[in-house]
Symmetry: C2
Subunit: 199 residues, 2 copies
């Protein structure tokens, strides 16, 4: 299957790349820098240019999206906008534009995360974006044309990221990024839609 | 209790107004037009002006927020932005600014809705905004200062609105707006926080 992998250079993106390759898929990588296609997913024009370069694809796998991490009392109005744009608007726009271009039976797999159900101090914008993404997946699933499907992967913190986040996720049970990557395979090769794969 | 009611002129807002009055609260009303204070909650400056006029308040009750209702295939990028701004950014901004102004033990009650769990054709932007709002409520609850609290009311379609929405909610069991209004009392007068009251 020809798959467009966005956010290919991150911890999760690299794990998804590895498992897609093991499954014999043809992969086109995209990310801000360091991939075959450079893309800023907060910019609809940049997304359009990415899809034009990628050509006809059968699945879109997103492991991309960023939000401000700040204590609630320090958030500015712009931080709230950036949180909504960075991980929710951006991924919705991937699907909105991609739906018109993806193949019959094509699929979209988006990234959410544990903070939608288990909030953390400093993580409110991640919670908000994830809540929007998961609700979008359930809603878009009943409207996508051409039997296209959409699911979200909603992992807890990755073992590989525990050092980076320090005490923020203290007491959380981390999982390897490869476990979340497996859920992308389940979404892409399976027939489910409107699902959120939690781990 | 002195309560700022935003969206006071809508179907839900009028029902909340009635039940707050019955409970003996002092109510300051705000909405785009027709209330004591005119406010555009998508504009942070307008929210600031509203809070300055309202003075010291003990609870904020929001029954406000709008999103585009369109088939998914007809949504523009701007529609997605408008959906996120109209009901999610706007209500988050009510809390972000309000938290610094509300009293010790003050509360925020936001409006979500059934589409976060039961999507409808044409309702994807409502689903997205509601998902963001409910995740925000869970997240903000653990960070609000001064023992402030936050909850969301997440009702199904109102009996009063069935004519307006026509067949869109066919098969949904409507509830009177007064039932959702009661949940505002529960949020304001109770001590719960981080809750989503579904009906």
């Amino acid at each position: 299957m020809k798959i467009l992998l966005i956010g290919a250079t991150g911890t999760l993106g690299r794990a998804v790349h590895m498992v897609l390759r093991e499954r014999g898929h043809e992969i086109v990588t995209a990310s801000r820098t360091g991939s075959e296609i450079s893309v800023d997913i907060t910019d609809p024009d940049s997304i359009q240019a990415m899809y034009e370069r990628a050509g006809r694809i059968e699945a879109v796998a997103s492991a991309a999206g960023g939000v401000p991490w700040k204590p609630f009392a320090e958030l500015s109005a712009q931080d709230v906008r950036d949180g909504l744009t960075g991980k929710a608007f951006s991924q919705i726009e991937l699907v909105r534009q991609g739906s018109a271009r993806a193949a019959e039976d094509g699929s979209f797999t988006l990234i959410s995360g544990v903070l939608v159900r288990d909030p953390l101090v400093r993580g409110s914008m991640a919670s908000v974006a994830n809540g929007a993404v998961e609700a979008f997946v359930r809603a878009a699933a009943i409207e996508l044309p051409h039997r296209q499907r959409i699911n979200a992967v909603s992992p807890t913190v990755f073992s590989e990221s525990m050092d980076h986040y320090g005490d923020l996720f203290a007491g959380f049970e981390p999982v390897p990024a490869a476990m979340a990557a497996n859920a992308y395979i389940r979404s892409i090769e399976g027939r489910q839609t409107g699902q959120v794969y939690e781990m």
